[in-house]
Symmetry: C2
Subunit: 146 residues, 2 copies
Amino acid sequence: MTSISGDEINSLDVLLQQLAMTIRRQIANIASAYDLTVAQYLALMTIYRSDSYCTMSELADNTMQISATMTGIINRLENRGWVKRELDPSDRRVWRVNLTPDGKHQLEQLEAERRKLTEQVLCQFTTQEQQTLHALVDKYLAITIK
Amino acid sequence: MTSISGDEINSLDVLLQQLAMTIRRQIANIASAYDLTVAQYLALMTIYRSDSYCTMSELADNTMQISATMTGIINRLENRGWVKRELDPSDRRVWRVNLTPDGKHQLEQLEAERRKLTEQVLCQFTTQEQQTLHALVDKYLAITIK
DNA sequence: TATTGTTATACTCTATAACTATA
DNA sequence: TATAGTTATAGAGTATAACAATA
């Protein structure tokens, strides 16, 4: 027994913060090669993973921001041709935001690059280690969100 | 065998991003109760953990930002009494940035609050799970930084 | 000459409050 | 009345480039 439980939690806490900042910085670096900010990348990926369109509210909720902020982010992405807005015919207060074909294509390129970098890290873990890490992070998120 | 290695890496990748954003959001929430931004919190904690003072370059390196950005962050913290600048007598190009007594006191309060929240999550892990997570995140960071 | 840090500039993010349009 | 989204506004972060002071 080399450490007290409180100490272990403390150093794990510090390490998790470092991990969070490192991952965010890596996203920032790759996104900036496509002239995107982290906030723009997160909005685009939210739409991409939804597999169809997102409303402004869904984007705000998913990226944990308020709708006024999202308006600015989507305005800039729309001006640059990454996304387009379309009115929801069944509720004309709602905008459906979707990727343009070009936006989707570029985003897939960016993601392929980013995943290659992540793979270079994760492939140095055994399958067992990957699964263990997955389970532990899953548990962390489940508790946090609850 | 229920999953291919590539799939496991993909879903782990997504999960790690979620973790990063969740941790950052938690920092943002607690810091804002002290009227601090995430960038300000990170600068303050960098000084706090250094256990003495930091130079502007050290702050910029540690928070992965350029020095021009750090100038603005430290200016605002100085104006509000969290930190103070002192010239390094042995190299007068260098500023030594340190916490004020009041800044240190407030930061310790903030950290106590934040750690309590983290503990509420991590205490639901067994000691074994904590140590395993620690080791895996350690490994991740070691590979990434290398 | 090289290094440390600041200033000027431009753009983006962020949150609050007030607002419009639709349900 | 309630909801979806925008606009106006103000403050903060971010990066680039040019700069001053010191080594």
